[in-house]
């Protein structure tokens, strides 16, 4: 069978699907896995720019499917990892240029050669989403601790159930430790309670994520970043390793917490 096909989806837009795909792709490549990441958001190409590969595109996903190039010609090799490739989305077409059957055929062609095929799904639950999940062996749902994102995640989980897909796993992205501690934000436990699916990672809010996208160098390449660490942990869990969840409170030291306790008292 070869590669495992993993689709990253969410329902709601802007929750961090592309950032997650880029970071998981790089994390897996760092662990010597052969990886291809596919941008399935046809018409709204952006995985390339987040990964810093936007200047190397010649052919795209639709070119492969419509036979204008060979599969190999559309694979863009990453600058740092020779065994990490990107298939960019077409920019001037729409979702109907590709069918779910096309996606299954495309990934089947690559399964022998790769260890992981990651698909960055577009937002929504229409054709683009269906294309992205059709070939998936496993689906990761990205959500934020916000009512709108969680509700959309639930809808997507329901659709996957109806398709008889294996139960997806959840990535809670942009968790704000301080707000959760104050009870002003849904915690990972709350969200998994509500959605009734298993968690595969909690990614803390990190000010370095936007600068890293700005430079096209995904955050997971920064060994000091907590969000980067979270993505590396998820990649290891995908590979079957049993990695404990980070305690989100870690960066504040015990002393600091003691201080807060006595200074803030019950008002916290």
């Amino acid at each position: 069978m070869g590669a495992k096909v993993i689709t990253i989806t969410s329902g709601k837009g802007g929750v961090g699907k592309t950032t997650t795909t880029a970071n998981l792709g790089i994390s897996l490549a760092r662990m010597d896995q052969k990886v291809v990441v596919i941008d399935a958001d046809i018409g709204l190409r952006n995985l390339d720019i987040v990964m810093g590969l936007e200047n190397r595109i010649v052919y795209d996903l639709v070119d492969i499917i419509e036979g204008r190039c060979k599969l190999r010609q559309a694979l863009i090799k990453h600058k740092l990892f020779p065994e990490l490739y990107l298939i960019p989305a077409a920019q001037t077409r729409d979702k109907t240029a590709v069918s779910p059957a096309d996606m299954i055929q495309l990934t089947d062609q690559m399964r022998q050669e790769f260890d992981y095929i990651l698909i960055d799904s577009p937002a929504g639950i229409e054709r683009g989403f269906r294309n992205a999940v059709a070939p998936a062996d496993e689906v990761l749902i990205v959500t934020n601790p916000e009512v709108s994102a969680v509700r959309d995640a639930d809808r997507v989980i329901g659709l996957l159930e109806a398709e008889n897909k294996k139960a997806p796993r959840l990535i809670l992205n942009r968790a704000k430790v301080e707000q959760i501690r104050k009870g002003e934000m849904l915690s990972a436990e709350d969200v998994t309670d509500i959605l009734a699916i298993k968690l595969i990672g909690i990614v803390p809010e990190d000010d370095q994520v936007v600068p890293s996208s700005n430079s096209g160098v995904p955050i997971t390449l920064n060994d000091n970043s907590r969000a980067g660490q979270a993505f590396r942990n998820i990649a290891r869990r995908l590979m079957g390793e049993d990695v404990p969840f980070m305690t989100l409170d870690e960066p504040t030291s015990l002393l600091k917490r003691l201080g807060r306790l006595f200074a803030g008292g019950k008002g916290n």
Partner: protein
């Protein structure tokens, strides 16, 4: 002490808007999953009661019809107590004697 420990380990307290978000989501998602909004459920409840009332007398004060979730499945759980049957015996007499017996 428990509060002290909870604050030390950063557990989320049971206050603030986080818990509101959780409760609101838990409520609405049960409806979303079966595509039956709360208002329509109310209409359905009324109809169910009308049908049941055609056959038996229902004790209006004890009715509880609600959606519940078990993991990701939703189910309609209905508790519909019947009124005591009024045929056969004279109801008032029957109730009086039952009450008399209950008294110490």
């Amino acid at each position: 002490m428990a509060g002290f420990l909870e604050r030390m380990f950063g557990r989320a307290p049971k206050q603030g808007t986080g818990i509101t978000a959780k409760e609101r989501l838990q409520f609405i998602l049960v409806h979303d999953r079966i595509n039956l909004p709360p208002e329509r459920l109310e209409m359905m409840k009324k109809e169910i009661l009308e049908v049941i009332s055609k056959y038996v007398e229902v004790d209006g004060s004890g009715i509880d019809i609600a959606l519940q979730k078990r993991q990701r499945d939703s189910l309609l759980v209905a508790e519909i107590p019947f009124s005591r049957p009024s045929e056969g015996f004279d109801q008032d007499e029957d109730e009086d004697s039952a009450q008399a017996e209950d008294k110490p």
